[in-house]
Amino acid sequence: MSQDSYIPDNPNERIRLVQGGLNFSQVTETVASIAERPTSRKWLFAFLMAAATAGLVPGSLAILFWNGTGVWGLNNPQAWAWDIVNFVFWVGIAHAGTFISSILTLTRQPWRTSIGRFAEAMTVFSVACAGMFPACHVGRVWCAHWLFPVPNQMDLWPNFHSPLLWDVFAVNTYATVSVLFWYLGLIPDLATMRDRAKNAAAKIAYGVLAVGWTGSVRQWMNFEKAYQIFAAIATPLICAVSAVVSCDFAGSQIPGWHATIFPLYFVCGAVFQGFSATIFLMAICRSQLGLKNLITMRHLENLCKITLALSFIVTYIYFMEYFIAKFSGNPYEAFCFDNRMTGWYAVGYWTMIICNGAIPQLFWFRSVRNSIPAMIVIGFLGVFGMWFERYIIIMAIGHDFLPSSWEGFMPTFWDCSLFLGSIGTFFTLLLLFVRFVPVISIAEVKMVMPEAKPKHGDHH
């Protein structure tokens, strides 16, 4: 296809972010029509598949709530196995959206505009999936509100000195701020949908959600300022949320967990995983949704380059973690790492090294960065490998100081069903998003087109 053929990047002459010679109106049409055309069979099939998988969640939760966390394969050292693995996994997928919409805004990267919306949607939905796990894991779910400082007759407050409580605040703040940021960015596009709507129901629904947007100068000024402020506050938040999650581990004394590198480790791992997931889904969606002119090979190539850089950071941390474990002279630490490489979980460890460290190195080659099938495979493997990273970290608790208390972990059916259900939930929400909401920020894409800049005449 012509728009897929990649013209070598001359540093003096950047490739246009919008290809195919589209004008403003055609950009609107390309994006808005996705949400306007009749439901396609392909979408319906995908939606039914996803919704059926998501249907595992209510059943799994009912069994869990009725019986308690014993229905999972938990045992004495492994008190929070897959549950916390999946929680950290989903929080990780969330990170790309925030990274793209906050850090790439602050660093003025105009190419972020056509991928930001989709990645932010992934953020919102994967945080929703993440929230499912710790909320259920408390066992007595009817007491889940005790996580928050709710006044009670016992005059008890949560322990504000505990990383587990910090986690509650960090993840809830992250979820809330992501949703607000996403909604703010959506307002001008919801107004576009309102103005294009053909039937009354759509006009009212989009009209209410667009809160009265007419694109006036003052509205745009407030919008841009609000967007910048959100980008500025989301930037430290994205660095903090996985760092705080990592304190759940680093705050303990378990070998393999008690490490000062953990906050950095978790943040970089999460961003790597988020970018891998974005590449995977974006490479599939752009042709399915007919967005090749807006999500160009240049966009995907940039994502690949960032993923490659992040892969280096996580690989460095894998080596550094091992080096410090050996260099510390602490026999428990050293054993923990040897056990990871050669023991029960060796398959997981080497999957992690290969998927996160070795395979992304293929992104050095321009031909790989320009191959959609390669991106889909490498992106998927990045997500897959990151699940194993959390798995092998968390399994370390099974082999701590006292061999008599060692215990492995075997997932049960309900472990698997809840995880599968969370994947289904994610895709159900993502498909609904694709069906009803503009998947690309229409206004922001127009902003970065050269035609959007007024040509100054003699009046300046």
Partner: protein, 180 residues
Amino acid sequence: MSTNEKVWGLVSRFDNPTDILAAAEKVRAQGYKKIDVHSPFPIHGIEKAIGVKATPLPWISLLGGTAGCLGAWYFQYWTTLDYPMIISGKPGLLHSTPAWFVVVFCVTILLCAFATLGGFMVLNDFPKYYSPLHKVKGFNRASDDQFFLVVSAADPQFDQRKTRDFLAQIGGQDVTVVTD
């Protein structure tokens, strides 16, 4: 048009950002004060052209963030005194404050985010559903590819006939009277 509707303003259409910026500057130079531009994306320099002052939104955000910061710190201080956990030297103002940092940080950002979105809503007079501009035929393209210059009837210089001719003269297309 029903009889009890009043003239709300005049709207004219331009089809590119360069033209509307030039037109806005001309309307402003003519002495009009209550003018506005509606566009599908922000136009660089338009706020100066029509004389809109900088938004106070950052101050609202700062207020929200400060409230979150101080509130979260004081809340943790108060609960720690309310039910003291005398472990590792705690409670104590200086001893415990480092441990409270994460919650202070998160609540600061949380309230800052609420203040920013709330301030955005209030400053824009949102949420609402109706605008007289929606009655203008073709105004739905203000969120697509067209640019609209509005002169409000509340402007002291507003004169339906003169203003209309002036807008047409500076290149405005489809100059329309908006009633409300």
